[in-house]
């Protein structure tokens, strides 16, 4: 504690630099898969800081959860982004000056609030049994909060399955599940799936009318012929 800079301080500043730098690079990289794993790196740096803060369970659980989340995010990146491997330079931003301004204002505002307000000073004890205390609290006094979070997660799981199911809420999902066109409003690359099956479901009534007209003309021709 007499040293000006201790090992923990060096580790903290290194991890903080990694977190902020990789967070910035998420929005400055071309490859989308790299963007999601750069976000994972940012989360892992924050988790390392939390391990330095004597919260072992929260730190390691952050790494665990965020690895899985960023893996799923990478899969969705490839699904919905046009440049997953970063083979072309691209920049899909809008209102960039406003966004930079908002980010800077948020950072300055929050830092000013931090530096000017009287912060509490009750550091956690070095031998504090954090996991034990968390467990007793979570399943004791705060059981209702914990169970509500569980129910919220369950409803989110059910909701996300319903929203994205193949037999969707507003009709089947297959007609809409096609890649974007090569040009605006055009056909997608590759083979186009057979559309007749889907038209048969929603437009069954209209097929009778075009078929009825030739029969009428045939009848007229037949009447004229005979």
């Amino acid at each position: 504690m007499n040293d000006l800079i201790s090992g923990i301080d060096i580790a903290f500043w290194a991890l903080a630099a990694i977190a902020v730098l990789s967070g910035w690079r998420v929005f400055a990289t071309d490859s989308m898969v790299r963007a999601s794993f750069l976000l994972l790196l940012s989360f892992m740096a924050v988790a390392g800081i939390m391990l330095l803060l004597a919260a072992p369970y929260i730190g390691v659980a952050t790494i665990f959860m965020m690895a899985v989340e960023m893996m799923v995010m990478a899969v969705f990146m490839v699904m919905f982004m046009m440049n997953p491997a970063g083979l072309n330079p691209m920049s899909m931003v809008h209102q960039q000056p406003l966004a930079i301004g908002a980010g800077v204002v948020a950072f300055i505002g929050l830092s000013a609030a931090v530096l000017t307000s009287p912060l509490p000073d009750q550091p956690v004890a070095a031998d504090h049994r954090a996991i034990h205390a968390l467990g007793i609290e979570m399943l004791g006094d705060s059981m209702l909060i914990f169970e509500s979070a569980g129910v919220a997660l369950l409803s989110a799981m059910i909701g996300s399955v319903i929203l994205s199911s193949r037999s969707g809420r507003f009709g089947p999902a297959d007609p809409g599940s096609r890649p974007p066109g090569l040009c605006e409003g055009g056909l997608p690359a590759g083979s186009v799936p057979d559309e007749n099956k889907n038209h048969g479901m929603g437009h069954g009534m209209q097929h009778d009318t075009p078929n009825a007209a030739p029969q009428d003309t045939h009848g007229a021709h037949g009447a004229q012929g005979s």
């Binding site: 929260i58 989340e69 919905f80 966004a99 908002a102 950072f107 550091p123 999902a173 599940s177």
Partner: protein, 101 residues
């Protein structure tokens, strides 16, 4: 590693996330920005737990709730992105302009 330093680092993460949310056209990148904001909030929570409350257990519980919110937001967010794409073939925010004046 003082409380102020931690909170300023977390504010930087929140500022970066806010920049991402406001500047990205694609839904998925927008959600990455939101995840960064929640990253900063998580760090702030644990900083206050470690330096400001002498290890009160509700601080860690709040951190777990922030992580649960992250998971919830990602799940419902991606389900909505999928549903919107299937309905309108829109994968950027600019493509959804039915409410535009």
């Amino acid at each position: 590693m003082t409380l102020q330093a931690l909170l300023i680092v977390a504010s930087a993460l929140i500022g970066l996330g806010l920049y991402g949310v406001l500047s990205q056209q694609s839904f998925v990148m927008l959600m990455m920005g939101f995840e960064l904001i929640l990253n900063g909030v998580l760090l702030m929570t644990m900083a206050f737990w470690s330096f400001g409350s002498a290890g009160a257990p509700k601080g860690q519980l709040l951190a777990i709730l922030v992580m649960a919110v992250m998971a919830l937001e990602m799940a419902i967010g991606f389900a909505l992105v999928t549903a919107v794409y299937r309905q309108r073939q829109a994968d950027t925010t600019e493509a959804l302009d039915t409410l535009k004046h």
